[in-house]
Symmetry: C2
Subunit: 344 residues, 2 copies
Amino acid sequence: MVQIPNQPVPPSPAQRPVPTSADVARLAGVSRATVSYVLNNTSAVRISEPTRRRVHEAAKDLGYVPHAAARSLRAGHSRMVLMPAPAVPVGPLYSRFFSELQGALGRLDYTVVQYGSAGLHGDEAARAWAELRPVAVLVPGSGLGPQGVAVLKRSGARAVVTLGPERVEGAHALLMDHDRVGHSAGVHLAARGRRRVGVVVPEEPGLEIFSRPRLEGVRRALGGTGATTTELPLAYEEEAAARLAARWRELGLDGVFAYNDEYAMLLMRALQDAGIAVPEETAVVGADDLMLGRLLRPRLSTVHIELPSGRDLAELVDRAVREPGAGPETHEVLGARVVHRDSS
Amino acid sequence: MVQIPNQPVPPSPAQRPVPTSADVARLAGVSRATVSYVLNNTSAVRISEPTRRRVHEAAKDLGYVPHAAARSLRAGHSRMVLMPAPAVPVGPLYSRFFSELQGALGRLDYTVVQYGSAGLHGDEAARAWAELRPVAVLVPGSGLGPQGVAVLKRSGARAVVTLGPERVEGAHALLMDHDRVGHSAGVHLAARGRRRVGVVVPEEPGLEIFSRPRLEGVRRALGGTGATTTELPLAYEEEAAARLAARWRELGLDGVFAYNDEYAMLLMRALQDAGIAVPEETAVVGADDLMLGRLLRPRLSTVHIELPSGRDLAELVDRAVREPGAGPETHEVLGARVVHRDSS
DNA sequence: TTGAAAGCGTTACCAA
DNA sequence: TTGGTAACGCTTTCAA
């Protein structure tokens, strides 16, 4: 970092203590209760207009901001919905889903907070989340066990929702079974007459949650057909792809499900550079239906993935919070369908 | 969403109240103070081993989890570092930077929280953040004014750091001037002999913070050279790119800075489909140095962007928190250099 | 080694 | 219409 000469230190704000509602009350010449009434527009109590004005003015003068912790301590509950911040960079698909969710929850007057649980794992992380006493917890991926769910519920969470491959006892589940993604691709490749199918499995850590089920899905699709499935570990690097392409003929594959569109692009480029014709010699199928697939030549066939709408999930959360008695819901939310273009 | 039949409602957990340290004390047959000592490993006080065991056991039996709000209320401070959650989907570059930052802050024992300020703007958002009494606030982009900084500081934030195009009075600044990105591209294109340069400006909302300075950077680079700069609004859609490519010859451009690698890919594909030779007829330069640029043919020239290391920023935050008296630091942190490949 | 009590900032109940 | 007071869960000082 390049240091730029600093401004002169401004006349120190005297490290003056943070103003509280008591300070506002004192300045306005009223009680703390009155301050609370005025600032929260409590309808059960009528406060005279001059008093209101004095309170508001005092609050503004002092730069008073209420203390959320104190408030929720007193109230006994908060409207915080907590999600762990994703550790691995996450694609545009998930980003969009998440910001939709965040908007929808915001409209329902919840506050969404992503908690950076760097290094914490599983039920250990659950404890850290529980300390914040969120009203609901949304957990993508696997890693949260029934223990963790229990901890969260016992500490007041009225809804725990997992977004992942399997149900967890006690939690609502949005099942996102990536097996389906691989399965669609497998069915498609088989229908296109491919008999020896490779499946790219990224070597980057953190992607196993997706890549394993996708691989299994292909296997399942090809199970009865007599076609073979070959696992292809691949790092997201040009050289790795080139090495894989170099031994392609020896592998004898006539089709490949490349995990997603980005790996597909990487592999397809390497194959073409190695003189393998796509789709004639080898069909390539990606997943995620990103824009880039449409820009490749040949245009990339891909598995379009349908995530649940953020609004639906927000409503599930809201429902669960209002009626914590109801049993946990389970929804299958991952839609997968092949978009057939020119690479297969 | 497809509803799956729910399990039978489990014997309701009786909506039993959340266990407090008082409950633990009662069960262990000690006072609340002792519980606190044991669970926090307070070194100033020696507690007998049998007592410790009883307390730990009671805590585990009850599933006791301390209440973060109560704790920080009592302590008068927290170790929460707050960032607004990005509203627009953010690329892999920023994702990596952020998760590095999060890890580094975690190692310094801070808790990183991304706050979903859906809909809130500027100083209004600052108030919402201030309610959480974070010890530090990191704000990417513009939008936070001196007012907002003041609100945050008065409510106890010991460090406010902006990551954006300009300094804000009272806050530490990590200046990320995207003008530099455009400038590098402009200098490069001029050096390659291009005289009529187009600059793609995405139509997607939320990207102006980056696209405007990048455009200005190109203008600045080309200012003295007699070369022209043409603004090219472009939506991230194939049709929009095709329309732009269709009138390319009429625009008479011999070079284009395409905002970033993804827009560059979009535009380059459209140009090639329209029979415009890249780089012979028109040079194309992207930005971000993503993998995909290396996979295109011709390989995409791009502006490699260097973000500060998450560790450096974490240390800045830590320093600022420990010594809030020191004046705000300003650092230029955005490095930009052209990676020349085959498209220019 | 342990316990009693005060206090952090809020809000809600009950009196005045 | 307003104010006093208690309570939320926790930590820490002081006393025993």
